[in-house]
Symmetry: C2
Subunit: 861 residues, 2 copies
Amino acid sequence: MNKFVYSFTEGNKSMKSMLGGKGANLAEMKKIGLPVPAGFTVTTEACNKYYEDGEEIETHIVDEILEHVAKIEEETNKVLGSNENPLLVSVRSGAAISMPGMMDTILNLGLNDETVKVLWEKTNNKEFAYDCYKRFIQMFSDVVLGIEKYNFDSINNNEDDIEVIIEQYKKIVKKETKKEFPQDPKEQLMMAIRAVFDSWNNQRAIIYRKINNIPDEIGTAVNVQAMVFGNMGETSGTGVAFTRNPSTGEKVLFGEFLTNAQGEDVVAGIRTPKDISELRDVMPELYEEFVGITKLLEDHYRDMQDIEFTFEDKKLYLLQTRTGKRTAKAAIKIATDLVEEKVINKEEALLRIEIDKLDQLLHPTFKEDFLKDATKMAKGIGASPGAASGRVYFTAEDVVREAEKGERIMLVRQETSPEDIEGMIKAEGVLTVHGGMTSHAAVVARGMGKCCVVGCGELSINEKAKTLTANDIEIKEGDYISIDGASGVVYKGLVETEATKLTDDFETIMNWADEIKRLGIRANADNERDAKVAIELGAKGIGLCRTEHMFFDEERINTVRHMIIAEGIEERKEALDKLLPFQRKDFVEIFNVMKELPVTVRLLDPPLHEFLPHGEEDIKNLSQILGYDYEMLKERVESLKEFNPMLGHRGCRLAITYPEIYVMQVRAIMQAAIEVSKSNEFTVNPEIMVPLVGDVTELKIIKDLIINEIEKVFEEEDVRIDYKVGTMIEVPRAALTSDEIAEEADFFSYGTNDLTQTTLAFSRDDSGKFINEYRNKNIFEKDPFEVLDTKGVGKLIEISSDLARKTKKNIKLGVCGEHGGNPQSIEFINKLDIDYVSCSPYRIPKARLASAVAVIKEKNR
Amino acid sequence: MNKFVYSFTEGNKSMKSMLGGKGANLAEMKKIGLPVPAGFTVTTEACNKYYEDGEEIETHIVDEILEHVAKIEEETNKVLGSNENPLLVSVRSGAAISMPGMMDTILNLGLNDETVKVLWEKTNNKEFAYDCYKRFIQMFSDVVLGIEKYNFDSINNNEDDIEVIIEQYKKIVKKETKKEFPQDPKEQLMMAIRAVFDSWNNQRAIIYRKINNIPDEIGTAVNVQAMVFGNMGETSGTGVAFTRNPSTGEKVLFGEFLTNAQGEDVVAGIRTPKDISELRDVMPELYEEFVGITKLLEDHYRDMQDIEFTFEDKKLYLLQTRTGKRTAKAAIKIATDLVEEKVINKEEALLRIEIDKLDQLLHPTFKEDFLKDATKMAKGIGASPGAASGRVYFTAEDVVREAEKGERIMLVRQETSPEDIEGMIKAEGVLTVHGGMTSHAAVVARGMGKCCVVGCGELSINEKAKTLTANDIEIKEGDYISIDGASGVVYKGLVETEATKLTDDFETIMNWADEIKRLGIRANADNERDAKVAIELGAKGIGLCRTEHMFFDEERINTVRHMIIAEGIEERKEALDKLLPFQRKDFVEIFNVMKELPVTVRLLDPPLHEFLPHGEEDIKNLSQILGYDYEMLKERVESLKEFNPMLGHRGCRLAITYPEIYVMQVRAIMQAAIEVSKSNEFTVNPEIMVPLVGDVTELKIIKDLIINEIEKVFEEEDVRIDYKVGTMIEVPRAALTSDEIAEEADFFSYGTNDLTQTTLAFSRDDSGKFINEYRNKNIFEKDPFEVLDTKGVGKLIEISSDLARKTKKNIKLGVCGEHGGNPQSIEFINKLDIDYVSCSPYRIPKARLASAVAVIKEKNR
């Protein structure tokens, strides 16, 4: 028979999937001789079995649990429910992947009307004993019995006689559950374990897993552990510490503690804890012991640790250690430091960085100029760096509602709880009055890379009036505030932001990634500004320069419209001639930034009617500007409408019917390339890309057109430069006939956005109506527009690249859809015979790192 | 060195690709001893070389030609240009594939101012000699010198002195070409040969090749042959005869002749020729000889022959024989007769029938007499064959109203939508300005076997004035027009039609086809009437029964609309409950016709908004009928609109979000199947098909839903019947993951219409804007919605069927797109491991024959 329960003495850190992270690490600490209270872990398998068995714990598992309780009793010399020496235990959840605050914890289990008295007697501390019992009833009621917290709000906690308070608590339990509060500790224990199993499927845990891509099937373990008490007076306490600063990565012990408190008090943020360094002053020996242990743990785990501890009457106990969550900035510093300290190698360092969090480093900070004039309103603790502005709302629901209107919203709360998750996701930033660096708000916001300030006690929230005040400044619901998640400063009003500067450590990491990665990285950029960002962030070229955005410029749009509605080729050419200098200027600017790096310019792609005016008013205006008859113009606009524009008259189909458009664009590109090359030391490297090709003949016809025009430009300018002509592969037929198309192409670029639309027959613009249902029903694990659908789209890319290489071994192959910046997709692309990926400029660091990680993972496999 | 010229004595009928059809058959006739004037053929290779060499005939080919002239001179004892015994020759084109009338012919070459006199002397017939010279100058001027015929109109051919006429002709030549009419016969000959080569690329030849799918690269041969003269008096003459009647197939000699005439006279129609039987009276011996030769030729070629002959002073010469073109009716009769006569076997008989022409037998045609006088107004795409006349109306409502008065009505629309269905049913024919072979109008009309012309861009509809105009012809509402659904021609006014009856020979051919073919043939049918036609024409099941057409019925549409806009599942179910009896009735009717044959019912497919009212007025009406708030209804209709409905919320995606719709449909199908099976000797064979599946999980979820509902019905009815659940494969991703999808499917049906749209990223409804340009530029040889795109869509089907068979060896695979009725596509499908094709009822005979022909061709390869 399977073993479903493990003593801490039986496990080790490699058993996470069975014991959960917490259980495995408690066992590991026990193994290396650290002071861990006795306990055991009910495995994740037991949790899964519980669900398989219709939410029942089988008898033999119950027996196994009770056997292990007996072992704790033996080790502690206490007995559960004993009226002489009662054992109290904590019951905590712990999945293989950390889900902080998502599931439930119960402390002080084992207390009842009798044992509480024994505890009082033994500690000679009635206050303490009944405080424990009160906490226990409260937690048990909330977590196990499902009695909402507000039911207890009416109780006056200032009542002198704590026994009276306890009676009131128990009455509420009786009223709500129609039963007495359970007095049998074994019954309490089994109920608590069931409740932890149940909490695996509470709403916030499900959402957290979805957001963090944690599989639903892994289940949670349950840790049952002898209690030690941080709330046994001023020589007791509890705290949390990181072996390095989780916000900056600096190598200093970083943490907080509270005396005379239990763990929840630190996390809940009701009392503001003290900095860990102050522990030295209070209890120097204990502090030194703790510091020694933190070093030992970091060395042992070879990574920054997040450690929970409690001291009971000056005796230190460790309750948890785990790899500490950190900001991207800290992750990078810690990784580079650990390499320097020779603890890990470069490859390990790269694997240590959460790729998706790199975005944080690129997040904006406030513009200095604006900051000068900004009104400081208050200062709290900077809990998750970045800068954010938004309209103030005081509940998660309000935030969600307003954010969905497209507003930038700031969530402001006394403190956050797991129920606020959705509001936190939708908010630009999070601000709380209470709580410290390890409060719920801080931990979750850092995990999300969301700007967050906590513990801003100067602020006061009036929930009725819906106002926020501090230092005589009043902010009403809906007004703007701005917060600095690094410094903790809160500003009145909107403060403009700008991009951050990157650190040397960041450069180091990126360089290591570049040494290891195989894929080239390019940017999707269609203007000078984006091109500059791309270069700064390490792009080695532009993989997709769209030309249609340039057409939307206010100065040009009416000329574009003229070109579209032109009657016949002559009129169209006239309009195109006017557009030529604009396009040339665009390319000159981009080429000047990119220098000799390749720039892949995609010729006009979208359906023409996208450029046309829509309302009656717009059409009237345009008819006046162009001197067209209104009715005629309206009819022409009407006739350009399409049923399915995505599959309509667009891409290279435009050039098959109106070749003159591409001719103009090609002329602009080559004139610009020559102009820039002539006045510089470098030679521009243009790559002309034809979109939406489905058949080699299309490409052949258009390529002839392109080459013909380029030859004209060369003759006029009396100079030649190298160039390439290639095509997007974004239509399934193009992928399937890539052997033929490769004959005519110098390069392919997989346009995975469109290829996803056609391969799945999924309109990006319309899938909103059903995509949620598709994710809920697990038809798609991920949104296929975010993560490449490897089975369909990926397979086509594989078929295509194989066919293309057969025809032309050295054809250059790239991916330029959104997936080019998605780590999971990059891992897949890295396995194919693809030369580069191209993504939006701010995703380039992610792409560089992801490409390196893909290589490392491939090697480690 | 290659040989570029062949004497008739050197060739035979198997050398068509080199000698052209005419040249090869002249050689063959020579070989079997028939009286063919001496001559030679300049090969098609010489023609291709001519184009390769920049439209020059190389010297060595010129030499080769002259050597062969010498051989004719030797054989005839005449000499080109001789003033004693001048040789005259004809110069005729002749490609490997017959292109009647498309290229040029020159007779009497060799005549000049001198030789004409010799001819006069030798024949003692001045009239004859100068008539020949005149004809020669005329033809040579037209064909070789490019002088338009009207230039000669001013000449009075009644002038007594024919020499004067000749002089006038020559003057015009001089005036137009600035040169004298060439007098050197060898120069004449080389000029004529070049002109024939050039005629390969004249406009009408290019168009003819495009229409008839003749490759441009094959080139034409040139036949040079000693002249014989049918215009040498009343004992001379010329004629054309078919060995059987080309219109009916009857086995009687069928032809015409003229005495004292050259070939052109028969064709040109200036003199009315006599029936061939009259030749017996005029020249009985010659007639008998000719009849003998025609029999010999038919026996020799084993097929009906089309023979050109000339007699010069009672001596018979054969100038051409070829397989005679024939109507579908004649083709069938001749083929069955030849089998009966044991001349050919069944397989050969099937190969003899032009599959595309079978349509002729199933649809009414215009009466020849009326067609002669009809005024052509415009030409569109013949989308559904047949001939129809009716009064023009521009809306479905008007059509319904007028048709109910007993009028024959033509529905004329920009394009049709599902709301026009009733109008289409009531109309004689459908004509649309937009759309292609698979537009809504085309697909639905073909399904109905209704005559239809689409994409007639020359037409313009003025909806206000209610007029239809094209090429200066204006048709008012209520006026007659007539359309030819095969050729796409639109005629002004009423052209009378006649129905065709299917003959026993037709049945014989179909039975032979069934004996040979491998593919099963099913019909696309969604009502009783279509099902009956399908059975009559030989369908062995329904491969695609669409369920959405049933929803458009006037009685039901408002309930359907209610179902769509319902708030929440309960209200939706209420509406669905009302629809259930209607759907059940539909299926009862169909099952009663189809009996135990399989009926594949596709569950609801189109985007829901297609069913909703569009105009303000319609929305108002509906809001009153359903008791909904107008604004709310309008908003709901608005919210259902999609950018790309083809890729939107449709197909099985509807069932993922609103499972209750499919539940109702499945219940209707199974209740109907049980009802019909209970009251008959047979058991209905329903196959339930899920559309637009892209991932196996979609199918799995919906299949569970289906089976669950079916089990309920079985329990309620206390009976079980066999059924299948399968899926359409119409999304590329489904094709690419067919190994997974096959796990959950009893059958696949390739929906090649949608698969073409997604694989090519070509919207059926929008491709009209560029598809013509695509065909003109030879990007697509054929409209991919008409002929299966084998390289893209075909490849996906191949990938899919291979994957599916790997998972489930016996999975049933069918094709139910429009291509299922297209012979060329069937040939491709036959090669794959596909079980059946399904097509609209009237295409079933074509599909049966094409499937057999595919097998025969495969075997012969």
